[in-house]
Symmetry: C2
């Protein structure tokens, strides 16, 4: 491969993380100059799929879209597909407050990656990492709700992991690796 | 007038409330058999406008779309355009928990109504009602976050008001009355 693929995102952290995951496959992404049209939907797959289809149609070339979210069991999946808005408004502190008094702190980070060529149907790749919500926010790496997420069996939050460990463990790593294997096998 | 207008909503409470507000104007709405395509956006106006445009295009006749939300000052506007999802997941109880320890409980219910004819630009009407978040949920009328919203100067939550008082005071009443006056004057 080696060619560049357009990644529809406005988030440079996501671009860096995706490129770190994909570099062993010889795949490199560059930011698409195109709005990511996000719908309100219950699943990340619907959001990514719709955004990929509209971006591919507008740009006229193959694009990649990623959508991810934190799903907390005791909160009925909240903040889920709206994690980015929840992070901007109530933040980690708001989530910790919502978890007060819940024994069940289980949660998962999930990710959907959609690859779409103009006029074609999007192809979807999913990833998930199970874990739980920490009792306090810790760590300065990563972004979003990383400081309050503990991977399964880990005592470190995602914001305390080094980049390599996070990429190996994370929902985003899993989804992008599935995409890379599909692309190289395709 | 007296003719029926298609209202794109899956919420029968909203249909009833809108018809109660509009009946003095001789306007009556009926539910459109059409998906409401909601985008993720920071304002209700963008959400309503996009949904009205796509529904009018699909149905081929004029449609009305309403989007509303609860905006809490101390929470950076949360849950805002995502009030429906926040209600389904964390509910009134979650909002009360988030407000723990905040002195500033000011909030507003806001509403945007978009009217769109096929191929035309949507026309927007907004309404807002200022107030605050109650310390406990009270009342059984209305829907959504009504039980925790106190209108300005009122000791009753929106869920404790009778339908007539709520329609007069509410953000939804204001937006729909503006629409009616425009339609009858148009």
């Amino acid at each position: 491969m080696g060619g560049k693929i357009l990644f529809v995102t406005g988030n440079s952290h996501k671009l860096d993380e995706a490129n770190r995951i994909l570099s062993p496959y010889g795949i490199s992404l560059e930011m698409a100059v195109c709005e990511k049209l996000e719908i309100q939907a219950d699943t990340l797959e619907e959001v990514a799929s719709f955004a990929a289809r509209t971006a591919a149609w507008r740009i006229g070339s193959p694009v990649l879209v990623e959508d991810s979210g934190l799903f907390i069991d005791a909160l009925g999946g909240f903040p889920g597909p709206y994690s980015s808005y929840a992070f901007k408004t109530i933040g980690c502190r708001g989530i910790l407050r919502l978890m007060d008094g819940f024994d069940d702190r289980s949660a998962s980070f999930r990710c959907a990656v959609a690859y779409c060529a103009a006029g074609a149907e999007p192809v979807l790749f999913s990833g998930a990492s199970g874990g739980s919500i920490a009792t306090t926010a810790r760590g300065a790496r990563g972004f979003g709700f990383d400081p309050i997420f503990l991977g399964k069996g880990s005592r470190l939050t995602y914001a305390e992991l080094d980049e390599e460990s996070k990429c190996m463990a994370s929902h985003r790593g899993e989804a992008f690796r599935r995409f890379a294997e599909w692309l190289l096998g395709a």
